[in-house]
């Protein structure tokens, strides 16, 4: 084994949390070593463009299709789910439906870009609704960091649209860019749906098709400069972005924005001060070395490979004053457990959550222009909060602009169906495709899930990856609280489609395969939203949580675990903006302590 020069901070994982912390720390003149398990092929614009070509040429246009794993850094893939034969060892009883990507830039390379703040009540689920647990931080604690995160990620929205369920903003605040325009489809749906009333017991909610905050470049406000495509070179130089200053409507946020108008973690890394930043890609952290006397971390062992196709590696140890795990909710827990660090009362890896989501899809009464614009541009947020959360899960709808792509494999499946089953050709075929595909509507109904210690990431020495690192073993089930939320959400979707004159195909059986759960005699096909969280939850009590509100491990004074794994509960917002806000808060703490 060799030893590296000590750094102020060793960061594991070049995703959004690691990138934001690296940028803040190097900006303060602190020396950072960043280890990334996957390849660094997305750093240069040419390299990124090869990923785009890979997507064009892929038979399955899945979220993972542009981002194949290295042999030494395997990752879950949605195509593995049905046969449960992928990177995850899934113990059930239900399948965990989400995936992530181990590469430079992380899963922000293929996220949708939704950048919602959590609701104030989301931080107080136990005291407000008697379920889940409270955060040690409140909305007002995080609000200034949300504002900073919105500028770091480049979020487009109008504050005027975003004040609901108690979400508040500083008086002079607005988002750095104007809201992304609603799609024609959103406007047609909104004209029919806005003002529709939903009752849950004695509580009523008026629905509205609403633009959501998106980390996609739009028209800037004031002096804000949108950040476009990344083009970093091996020698440390970089080119200014020539593309991506504005969303062009590629309808491909997931799996790859061709112009990088959507935020990815590479943008923050490109803004880090390279004088203080050392990046090692293809370096898989394999063990946290701890002083048994006081719990302090002495180094992080990592395995470095030269060839993404090979599993030959050399081992080294990274040393710094502090260590920050930003590898992903699952990977953080996996690395801790692989190192024998199970946390207070063995809580590391427990309370894994996601947003199990349903699809609702149908045909609009007129051509609404599906397959155009950002993949989605609006949602329905009105059912994210309310007294009903004492009884069943809250949820939000994402309204797609990409037809039935994710539900049935359209447009290709629509072409195949017309040609193969309906035997159409010539003018009749072309007419039918124009007629059907331009009317396709899809909503994703993302349902909240509560923390449950039985839902957990563990490791087992009999399941190892090619480098000998343990693979994540996942136990997961969806409880009645969430299933009752599925009943409520699907009921609202049905009523909404009826009101909008949309012919509902959700129960037609024409959908692609997804895992199922059963509740009250009904089958619900659900998919993961990629919203892994809860695996190293924060709290005020060193016995009841893994980390403190600064994301420092209670049992290891110089170890931090950042990311959505830190969430005690997850509400209904996708986790990226909140984990970015937490990362900036932790970075402030680190700068203040390390500069002493």
């Amino acid at each position: 084994m060799t030893s590296d020069t000590p750094f102020d901070a060793v960061i594991v994982g070049a995703g959004v949390a690691g990138a934001l912390i690296a940028k803040q720390l190097t900006g303060a003149g602190l020396r950072v070593l960043l280890l990334e398990a996957g390849p660094g092929t997305s750093q240069s614009f040419n390299g990124y463009s090869r990923h785009l070509q890979q997507f064009y040429g892929a038979t399955s246009k899945s979220a993972e299709s542009p981002w194949p794993p290295a042999a030494a850094a395997p990752q879950p893939d949605s195509s593995d789910l049905r046969n449960n034969n992928g990177y995850f060892v899934q113990r059930g009883p239900d399948l965990y439906g989400s995936t992530y990507t181990r590469t430079w830039g992380g899963s922000t390379l293929h996220w949708l870009g939704v950048s919602l703040r959590m609701l104030p009540e989301d931080f107080r689920m136990h005291s407000r609704h008697g379920v889940g647990r409270d955060w040690p931080l409140g909305y007002n604690d995080l609000a200034p960091f949300y504002a900073r995160a919105e500028h770091e990620l480049g979020v487009s929205a109008d504050v005027a649209d975003q004040r609901y369920h108690g979400v508040s903003f500083a008086e002079d605040y607005d988002y750095p860019m104007q809201r992304v325009p609603l799609s024609y489809s959103d406007r047609v749906l909104g004209a029919a749906v806005d003002g529709m009333t939903v009752w849950f017991d004695h509580e009523s909610f008026d629905l509205k098709v609403r633009s959501y905050p998106a980390a996609r470049n739009s028209i800037p406000r004031g002096a804000y400069q949108p950040v476009g495509a990344v083009d970093l070179h091996d020698d440390g130089s970089s080119n200014p972005p020539l593309l991506g200053g504005r969303c062009q409507g590629n309808t491909s946020c997931t799996p790859i924005c061709p112009v990088q108008a959507k935020y990815n973690a590479g943008k923050s890394l490109a803004q880090a001060d390279r004088r203080y930043l050392t990046m090692l890609v293809q370096a898989v952290a394999s063990k946290i070395l701890v002083d048994p006397a006081n719990g302090g971390v002495q180094g992080i062992e990592y395995k470095r490979y030269q060839d993404p196709a090979s599993t030959r590696f050399t081992t080294a140890v990274a040393k710094g004053r502090v260590y920050i795990l930003t590898a992903h909710a699952v990977e953080n827990a996996r690395l801790m457990l692989a190192s024998g660090l199970t946390g207070p009362r063995g809580q590391v890896g427990q309370t894994l959550m996601d947003h199990p989501a349903l699809y609702a899809w149908g045909l609009a009464p007129l051509a609404i222009g599906a397959f155009r614009g950002p993949q989605s541009s609006a949602g329905i947020e009105d059912l994210r909060g309310g007294a009903f959360r004492a009884r069943h899960a809250a949820f939000r709808f994402d309204i797609g602009n990409d037809g039935w792509r994710s539900t049935t494999g359209a447009p290709d499946s629509t072409v195949s169906e017309a040609v193969m089953s309906q035997r159409l050709f010539g003018t009749a075929l072309r007419d039918q495709l124009a007629n059907l595909l331009s009317r396709q509507v899809r909503m994703s109904l993302a349902i909240e899930q509560l923390p449950d210690p039985a839902n957990a990431v563990t490791v087992d020495p009999q399941y190892l990856d090619a480098l000998g690192n343990p693979r994540p073993v996942i136990s997961y089930h969806i409880d009645d609280y969430t299933k009752a939320g599925m009943v409520a959400a699907s009921g609202v979707a049905r009523a909404l489609f009826r009101r909008a004159g949309v012919q509902d195909f959700s129960e037609s059986g024409n959908g692609s395969w997804f895992p199922s759960v059963y509740y009250q005699g009904r089958e619900f096909h659900y998919h993961g939203m990629g919203h892994f969280s809860g695996t190293h939850a924060m709290g005020d009590d060193p016995q009841q949580s893994v980390i403190d509100p600064d994301q420092r491990a209670w049992q290891h004074h110089n170890l931090f675990l950042a990311g959505s794994g830190s969430f005690p509960t997850m509400g209904t917002s996708n986790p990226t903006l909140t984990l970015a806000a937490l990362a900036l808060r932790t970075a402030d703490h680190l700068v203040a302590t390390l500069q002493q």
Partner: protein, 165 residues
């Protein structure tokens, strides 16, 4: 003698896109090559010769006769129908789809017959996107805010939905 010309003529009729638009995709040669490589030159030749023997549609009644023959003799053929349908899907989505197993059992083996995207550019040049007034996901982006307006679905010759003059 290249089969490109009859291949384009057949493709134009079964996709309802004019030859000039098919040529504009830049994919014609590679699609022809793909079909020949997988099902064999002779079999494709038979399809195209049969196509060229159809009655010319100069009058309405002959147009119907031609459509009937096309449906019966080519699309209705156990051997040629699956190939014809695959040619349509090639143009519309840029993907060669594995032929039905009944075809392979009767006329195979066809060792290269697996589902694949012919080339990254063939995905981008799929006709379906033009047909629906959209653009391929991840390419040919129409520009900021274009999505807030109704789609423009281009008219085409023979569109049964078009208002008769």
């Amino acid at each position: 003698m290249s089969q490109l010309e009859p291949f384009l003529a057949f493709s134009a009729e079964v996709t309802a896109f004019p030859i000039v638009e098919l040529q504009g995709t830049g994919q014609a040669e590679s699609y022809l090559q793909t079909v020949e490589d997988i099902v064999g030159t002779q079999r494709l030749d038979r399809l195209l010769v049969l196509y060229q023997s159809l009655p010319l549609a100069t009058r309405e009644d002959i147009r119907q006769a031609r459509a009937d023959r096309l449906r019966r003799d080519i699309f209705g053929s156990d051997e040629l129908g699956p190939i014809a349908r695959n040619i349509i899907k090639l143009w519309y989505s840029g993907t060669w789809y594995e032929l039905p197993s009944a075809w392979t059992e009767a006329y195979g083996p066809a060792p290269q017959d697996v589902t694949f995207v012919v080339a990254p550019s063939s995905y981008v040049e799929g006709l379906l996107w033009t047909a629906i007034g959209a653009h391929p996901a991840g390419a040919k982006a129409p520009g900021y805010a274009s999505w807030q307006w109704p789609p423009h679905i281009p008219p085409f010759a023979g569109d049964p939905a078009a208002t008769p003059r």
